[in-house]
Homo-oligomer: 682 residues x 2
């Protein structure tokens, strides 16, 4: 509901197209299509089905947008600290800033539930292509989108009658070339166990983000609970505190969020010319606003730091994408990729000219782009209000008629996210609302009908203040009453945020309808043909774009050559002490400073490895061939910022915190003897 999530979903909608022939070690593979033969020919070894099943069953998707893995038999989950930062922020209180202090549960009773968090494990993958495609049939435009949505809702509902412990999700692959039914075992009670403070886990801050050498202790532990007790997870990965070895093969298993490798050139042009420049300008302004609003205020720092971190992280990625698409050689490479595919399927009547259909859809998208982007203000509270208004309307309809996200299969997670207790910061809500409203006016113009709908005769500042100070939606009990009360309760509400959401919601539906008819419908049909074209041209060496669904990628531990100098494959604790200046964000955590004499300073901190990853892979286990976990993936190097569009294994590297570093931290810096015993329990 925040701007970040909304932008992410826009990207997901725009992404998901098939890819050309994968080069060595390239590819975010689904578990039912791992290229074992290819890997075996390159490495002399490849995992068998038992290995893959074990890795899949140990892999955890965190619904907050991260990946993770089970690392003990009692539901213990390894992920990144930055993946639990929102939880730490939510659990903080005035004077008790867990991002600044870190968190260690000495005993299980001290483990605390993370609001909105859910852990999910893939238990089966089944093809559902025929069912979805036959439901779409010859429909086009909005009708095709509706038919697809209805078919997916029906399949998901039928496959998961038990919504308390399972979740079913039809995953769209190759932009509609394939539909796969993923069934998940889900755990909706996830608790924080252990996490270092920001000064350790985000050492180097934004300046070091997407860079390597790196010295961030970006690891943490969660635990899955059910019925108040830790979950039994015998399928866990084996823990090892050993050092990574240069050249050894590793696997990263997780949920890459979105890539755009197989967009057509008119889609890249839309991103370069329209979408990314606006994102860059507006998010940069938001960043600046938030930095100054936080200032030196410790309470605002506690409440706003995680949000700022998210904005800066996304912005750096956006800037990297702008640079990639503005690099003439890189852009020419994308054009050459498209030209190769066109040449290979030229004259194939089954393919036709899907590129022209995409061009037309992009023209339509450009025409409604600003309206779509600025159709509603950003903020948690206004997000709650809009979801309550929409959910009430949608839930009154038959399952198959609802908008995506409101089907019976999707409602349990939505309800949890809506009703979990989460602290709301009024100043942050106001800031986000007034910023987004002023950007709507700027990009639409003061005289646009949508600007008038959003603002009336109020200023962005006054409107945001009136709505945020007047609403009671920060109280989960109020939200629950409106959720349970449905349409009647929503219609009767005089809460100013609900009143506002009722007023602007129809315009959003209107825009979605235009989008489905003119953009998503035609794009969906074109993508399906483009998928056919790729399979025809490149066979099964084609992997799908990332969709925040489970994937496996492999490569070797190692650095790269940067301007003639070799970057080593790992960093050490010693390097962290060398890099520390004492000034934020290069001030080492006091716990680390105090532990210096007890640490093995030559032990590994972070490592680099040549695997094909992207955002969403944060927290993914880095696994060796023996199913030992040797690290938790948390970033890419600067060259990896181009992974959105293409993977260059000569330069792009994934970055992970080593289990060796986490083990020293558990032993010495933030002692957690019980946790260590659990990790090594037989």
């Amino acid at each position: 509901m925040s701007s970040l999530v909304r932008n992410a979903s826009l990207l997901l909608a725009a992404a998901a197209l098939p890819l050309g022939a994968a080069r060595a070690d390239e590819g975010m593979w689904t578990f039912d299509a791992f290229p074992a033969a290819k890997m075996k020919s390159e490495y002399g070894w490849a995992p068998d089905q038992a290995w893959l099943d074990r890795a899949r069953m140990a892999a955890v998707r965190l619904t907050g947008g991260c990946s993770a893995s089970f690392v003990s038999a009692s539901g213990l989950i390894l992920t990144n600290q930055h993946c639990v930062a929102e939880c730490l922020s939510d659990l903080s209180t005035p004077g008790n800033d867990l991002l600044a202090k870190g968190f260690v549960a000495a005993v299980r009773a001290e483990e605390k539930q993370c609001p909105g968090q859910q852990a999910e494990i893939v238990t089966s993958i089944k093809d559902a292509s025929a069912q979805v495609k036959s439901a779409i049939g010859t429909a086009s435009g909005e009708a095709a989108v509706k038919a697809r949505t209805a078919a997916i809702a029906t399949i998901e509902k039928a496959a998961c009658p038990d919504t308390a412990t399972t979740r079913c999700q039809v995953v769209t692959l190759y932009g509609g070339g394939q539909y796969k039914l993923y069934t998940y075992r889900k755990y909706s009670d996830v608790r924080i166990v252990w996490a270092p403070e920001d000064a350790a886990s985000k050492f180097g801050g934004d300046p070091d983000n997407y860079n390597f050498p790196r010295y961030a202790l970006d690891g943490s532990f969660l635990r899955a609970y059910e019925n108040g007790r830790p979950v039994a997870t015998p399928q866990h990965l084996k823990w090892t505190g050993r050092e990574p070895v240069e050249g050894e093969p590793v696997f990263v298993v997780g949920n890459p969020g979105s890539t755009q490798r197989m967009l057509t050139m008119s889609q890249f042009a839309y991103q370069r010319e329209v979408n990314l420049p606006v994102t860059q300008a507006t998010q940069s302004e938001l960043r600046g606003r938030l930095i100054e609003a936080i200032g030196d205020d410790p309470e605002r720092k506690r409440e706003g730091t995680d949000t700022l971190y998210g904005i800066e992280n996304n912005l750096k990625r956006t800037i990297g994408r702008v640079r990639a698409l503005n690099d003439p050689a890189f852009y020419a490479g994308l054009a050459a990729r498209e030209a190769d595919l066109k040449a290979k399927v030229a004259g194939n009547p089954a393919i036709g000219n899907p590129w022209a259909e995409v061009d037309k859809a992009m023209t339509a998208l450009r025409a409604i782009d600003a309206e779509r982007r600025f159709s509603q203000p950003d903020g948690e509270l206004v997000g709650y209000a809009l979801t309550l208004v929409r959910a009430a309307q949608e839930r009154a309809k038959p399952d198959a008629d609802r908008l995506p996200g409101y089907s019976d299969s999707a409602l349990p997670l939505l309800q949890k996210q809506m009703l979990d207790l989460k602290p709301i910061s009024g100043w942050l809500e106001e800031l986000t609302m007034r910023w987004s409203l002023s950007k709507a006016r700027e990009y639409l113009g003061a005289d646009h009908s949508q600007t008038k709908l959003l603002l009336g005769r109020e200023s962005p500042e006054d409107l945001a203040k009136r709505l945020v100070s007047g609403t009671k939606l920060a109280d989960p009990a109020i939200r629950k009453a409106l959720w349970d009360g449905g349409q009647a309760a929503v219609a009767a509400s005089t809460d100013p945020m609900i009143v506002y959401a009722r007023a602007i919601e129809a315009n959003d539906r209107r825009l979605q309808k235009i989008y489905d008819e003119q953009v998503e419908g035609p794009l969906s049909a074109a993508r399906s043909k483009l998928a056919d074209a790729r399979f025809a041209a490149y066979g099964d060496s084609v992997y799908p774009d990332a969709t925040f669904s489970l994937r496996i990628t492999y490569g070797k531990v190692g650095g790269w050559m940067e301007n003639g100098t070799k970057v080593a494959h790992r960093t050490t604790w010693s390097g962290a002490f060398d890099r520390a200046t004492g000034a934020e964000p290069f001030a080492l955590a006091s716990a680390i400073l105090a532990s210096k004499s007890k640490l093995n300073l030559n032990g590994a901190m972070d490592m680099a490895y040549a695997t094909d990853t992207i955002g969403g892979n944060s927290g993914s286990p880095v696994i060796d061939r023996n199913l030992n976990v040797i690290g938790a993936n948390f970033d890419r190097n600067i060259h990896g910022l181009r992974n959105d569009y293409a993977y260059d294994m000569t330069m792009a590297r994934s970055i992970g915190v080593t289990t060796a570093a986490l083990e020293q931290a558990l032993r010495t810096v933030y002692p957690a003897p019980a946790l260590l015993r659990e990790l090594y329990a037989k």
Copy 2:
């Protein structure tokens, strides 16, 4: 010295190339090359030399970056309110915010001097091309730049022995195709006479900026003084409060700042791919920081509003340029323009291939772009310090050996700008410094040697705080002592800002040397050949890019067709009342609200006319054929944002406040009877 000025000078350095054949009414013409025959053939009339001389002598350049005109015999100057906003801000005191209240001097004794402001009138224009070009001779690279700089300093010094009342400036036209010696009568005591408050002059604020219909009362009056008395200006324009007439020809006389119409495609590519995206991101962040730092604090509003306005104005222009260059059709038009010129001079051995030389220079520029952009922090105080350090070094050298800007002919204005009393806001200085330092680290990387030079082991926040709180340079007496004391005083200073400036200054020189050798030197030679190419291809229909030197442009009063609807040529007071919502920036000034019953509501407020203008033309008189001033130019419409690259008279319009509106304001809203008598004095 602020970021805005630095960016403007970068643009100026990059601009100034010759143009293809001007279409009807296109062109920012110099006064010694007005296309009278062309205008006569289109309009049946054109100004004669006497008319042009009178207009030139009435035209005022304000060194703050604006244009203006004499409108009485006693040195009264008409310009925009936004051109005196910095003066109003500088003259404000706690509890007395002149931007919020406006300013009316009831008698001359109440007129107050504007810090740093100087008025300049062109008294002669002479060709200096032969002298400069022969000095350059066959030199190349840095040597050519030095030879040019020395020749210009020598010419300027010889032509203006009296630096108290005259200023000489060699203006580079066609990027080096021509050099012209402009002699100015200068008045360095300029006082504020009358100005409405922001609520009137900036009604509509940033949302309405670069838009029309518009309702801004963006006018003001200054007065030039000498020896404590108003200057006699018998050559003034005649004032009239009459309404503008649709279709009547008008002239805009002023100093357009910079256009980039005749860059080569590799220069446009550099702007689109490298320069503008970084400007957009970094200035957007600065905007956001400043908005939140000001917040609701009335004192910060008083101190920071004018700075914010400048940032937002430049940012909107940057965003417009990004859009223009990212518009495939527009970009193709630029390419076609270049292709036409290349075809017309193909095979001409005197031209050769200057495009290839520019390409090479752009490759060199891309390599040092981030270092150049982030070579020093932004801020008034650090700007003072760097100028003091550099001026001390340069003034110890012979005139011809100095850097541009430090020649004897340039020193008087620099000294005035350095030593005039100007209020400094510590919070704003700190904000600007910490922002620019953090951007330097972001774009160069934490490990870059220049980042280490700029930051040492401090954070941007700590360093900015230490330097701003420790320096005494806000005191003009301290600056004067360092200026007068020269190298010895600067070397002995323990002022932390001076110490800092001493430490970083050499790196700036190093970068300038590389730039001159690899970029400016080769570009200068290439531009001269490109100018020759254009004259060979298009004859004297070629006008030079804007360089903040005096120009004249003409066209007709009138609106345009927007999506099939005609936009009228003028707005009215009545329209302003209709547009007002009561919420900023659409809250009408209370003085206007109180005057409603006494105003002629159907009288003109602002007007649109098809003349070729750009930033720097703010405050320019809009003159009818009888040398009456009927308005003060203050903006362009949204289509005019493309004027940087090309002028499209079907859509682009200039925007001015009418003298009719100002006269109603003087009569009714902010009564100034003495001023009205002066305007109408025979």
